[in-house]
């Protein structure tokens, strides 16, 4: 019967390659250690029967190849969340030689539960007490040998961030692994833990005499800083000021960063690319240069901007400040049917919508998660920023343009949250998700840590974006060059723009701009490039053309529409991947279109009326 056996079972045929599963609570630095031991060599792998991909890497320990699998951070092996189910299913479907349990040494009083659960299941294990340096600062005293005896597992204090103790730990893991020829698979994990739960008494027994926690009323350095950062009166203004500082930094450093890149790519094009292609027929040269190369240069030109965003967001997250931001904004967000974390995700969306959409995984309630995914694309991402800078520079130069841009940022928040307030009343988006969020101590991120994270993010970003950007430039090239011999309004592009004119004219958007919006749907990075191609101008002279042919109202209406109308294809594919619902993905495309049109109509016609 199904309950005749529970807990770890020795498998008859041991793994060809020894396997170690790495588990731990969220925010224990588990991934930092994983990256250390695998030398950041890990690749995402698909595991049959699991709904998510897990990182795994093969490492050489003492001449032997060992596979490390990074399991999702979970609070309890016996829990009910999706991530917890993944870990349960993993341990039940795949055999491991050993489990590596990563704990936050400062919080051993509660995290010891996980090590005890592994023990209860009968799996061999090694415990790593990570952030040992922090524990020492707190005044947590741990006698590792005694603890190790009581657990029946080796215990190693380490700091994965700074590297202390890691060599010793890895040596210890190697030794323990050598003593584990058997592989174990768990049968009926949840049942076993239900029948043999880890009790408070057991936890106390394990810790008594081996662990001493600091005073209950200790006031740490973090507490002192929080006295200001979370101050009932000053906390929110400080937060808004810091957000403003971030945007100002992006404005002064991030935006001009495109210029040197453009200079380099322009030089490359003129001195190397064009001469080397000169022997090809004109149309092919044109296709390669204006179809494909332009796509690449568009991406390259704003890479520094995106990288800057990622650096700032990573630093803020690693420092622990984002949890405070979530705390400060939760009162407001709960009135919109969301919570403080959704605000942080919205902020992340200003760099690029895609990682923010993926970040909604932390929201367990599906209704709230979908709502968050729906409004994140209203964030003014860096690709949209490029469009606005160009257009506003042409129609509203100087300080007025800067103010208009600031207004667009404000509007992005306002519309996202107003829509959330309205939609959250609908049953599909109504949620009662509990809000319980750990507030970690302030930590100073190491440069290495931040750069490593940004490197990973940028790699993923480039991988995603390149396809669609190049596709976008190819499409616009095609639309603009056919039927052959036509110019301007007679090309496929022009005809397409004209087709939509009846609905776009009332909001002040001419056919050329309309086509650029269609290309912007594929990838917003090439929206302005598309405009240049359609007008048959280079980017430099395009600015002049725009300032001549668009009124300020038309320019701003175009920006407003670009802000709201539809997420780019990359974002949409991410929404689909995360929501796993075609219906919702289609809704996430149509809903913003309708909103954009209505908002622009009110703005443009309203402004015209006021002018008259």
């Amino acid at each position: 019967m199904s309950t005749c056996h529970s807990g770890a079972v020795v498998k008859e045929a041991p793994n060809a390659t020894k396997r170690i599963g790495v588990i731990g609570q969220p925010n224990t630095g588990k991934s930092t250690f994983f990256n250390r031991i695998t030398n950041a060599n890990a690749a995402v792998a698909n595991w049959p029967g699991l709904t998510v991909d897990l990182m795994k890497a093969v490492v050489k320990l003492n001449q032997e190849a060992v596979e490390f699998v990074d399991l999702p951070g979970i609070y309890d092996l016996n829990g009910f969340t999706d991530d917890e189910k993944v870990v349960q299913r993993f341990l039940e479907s795949f055999a491991v030689n050993m489990i590596l349990v990563v704990l936050n040494a400062s919080q051993i009083d509660r995290q010891i539960r996980m090590a005890l659960q592994v023990k209860s299941l009968g799996l061999p294990g090694v415990v790593l007490l990570n952030m040992a340096d922090e524990a020492k600062r707190y005044g947590v005293q741990i006698k590792t040998l005694e603890l190790s005896e009581r657990l029946g597992m080796p215990v190693y204090p380490i700091s994965a961030k700074y590297g202390t103790g890691c060599q010793g730990a890895i040596a210890g893991i190697t030794r323990t692994l050598a003593e584990q020829p058997n592989t174990y698979q768990v049968a009926n994990l949840v049942e076993h833990l239900n029948e043999n739960p880890v009790t408070e008494a057991e936890m106390e027994e394990t810790l008594a005499g081996a662990v001493q926690m600091p005073s209950l009323t200790a006031k740490t350095f973090t507490n002192r800083i929080d006295g200001v950062m979370l101050h009932p009166i000053f906390g929110l203004p400080i937060f808004f000021a810091s957000m403003f500082a971030v945007f100002w930094f992006i404005w002064t450093v991030g935006i001009p960063s495109a210029d040197p890149v453009d200079a380099v790519t322009g030089w490359l094009q003129a001195t190397i690319l064009e001469p080397s292609l000169a022997f090809l027929p004109d149309i092919i040269q044109d296709f390669i240069i204006n179809g494909i190369w332009t796509g690449f240069t568009s991406i390259l030109s704003f890479l520094p901007l995106v990288a800057l965003f990622f650096v700032i967001m990573s630093a803020l997250e690693d420092s622990g400040y984002l949890s405070r931001a979530a705390y400060l904004m939760d009162a407001f967000m709960s009135k919109l049917g969301l919570d403080g974390r959704a605000f942080v995700l919205q902020m992340m969306g200003f760099g690029c919508n895609v990682p923010a959409i993926m970040g909604t995984r932390v929201i367990r309630s599906r209704a709230m998660r979908l709502l968050s995914m729906l409004i994140i694309p209203f964030s003014l991402c860096s690709a949209r920023l490029q469009v606005f800078i160009f257009i506003l520079a042409a129609v509203l130069p100087g300080i007025h343009g800067a103010i208009a841009l600031f207004l667009l940022y404000i509007f992005s928040f306002v519309i996202a949250f107003a829509l959330s307030a309205i939609l959250s009343r609908h049953k599909n988006f109504k949620s009662n998700e509990p809000f319980v969020l750990e507030i970690p101590p302030y930590r100073f991120p190491t440069i290495k840590q931040v750069l490593l994270r940004v490197w990973h993010e940028m790699k993923h970003f480039l991988g995603r974006v390149t396809t669609f950007v190049v596709l976008g430039t190819i499409v616009i090239w095609f639309l603009n060059n056919f039927p052959p011999g036509t110019e301007g309004i007679d090309t496929l592009a022009g005809q397409l723009g004209q087709f939509f004119a009846p609905i776009m004219e009332p909001i002040g958007i001419n056919p050329y701009l309309t086509v650029s919006l269609i290309i912007g749907f594929i990838a917003k990075e090439v929206q302005i490039g598309a405009l240049a191609v359609i007008y048959g101008l280079s980017d430099d002279t395009l600015g002049v053309k725009i300032s001549e042919s668009l009124t300020i109202l038309q320019g701003f209406s175009y920006c407003l529409f670009s802000l709201l109308y539809i997420p780019c294809l990359t974002t949409i594919s991410t929404i689909w991947g995360e929501s796993k619902s075609v219906k919702f993905t289609v809704f996430s495309m149509i809903f913003p279109l309708v909103v954009a049109w209505i908002v622009c109509f009110i703005f443009y016609q309203g402004a015209l009326l006021l002018q008259a």
Binding site: Q25, G79, V140, G235, G340, P434, V436, L437
Partner: protein, 83 residues
């Protein structure tokens, strides 16, 4: 009394987390975060406009919890309150 009724700085001990009528896993999650019987707990601050409480559980775990969730955590007062 419940956690939501504690004043900032007031020391108390966790008695139990209500599990009736709450989503499955809520109690498990809170227990994993330290809300177990007998654990010392205190409210550090509360946010304005009905916002969440910042709570210290044990001596080294701090977290944010909404008042509605804090109402599900039953605590007993330590007679020798301080601060």
């Amino acid at each position: 009394m419940t956690l939501a009724e504690l004043k900032p700085g007031q020391m108390a001990f966790v008695h139990e987390v209500q599990s009736k009528g709450v989503e499955q896993g809520f109690k498990t999650r809170l227990e994993a975060m330290g809300f177990v019987n007998g654990k010392p707990i205190c409210v550090m601050r509360s946010a304005w406009f009905g916002g969440p409480l910042q709570v210290r559980v044990g001596s080294t775990t701090e977290l944010a919890i909404r008042r509605s969730e804090a109402n599900l955590v039953f605590v007993v007062i330590d007679p020798s309150t301080e601060n």
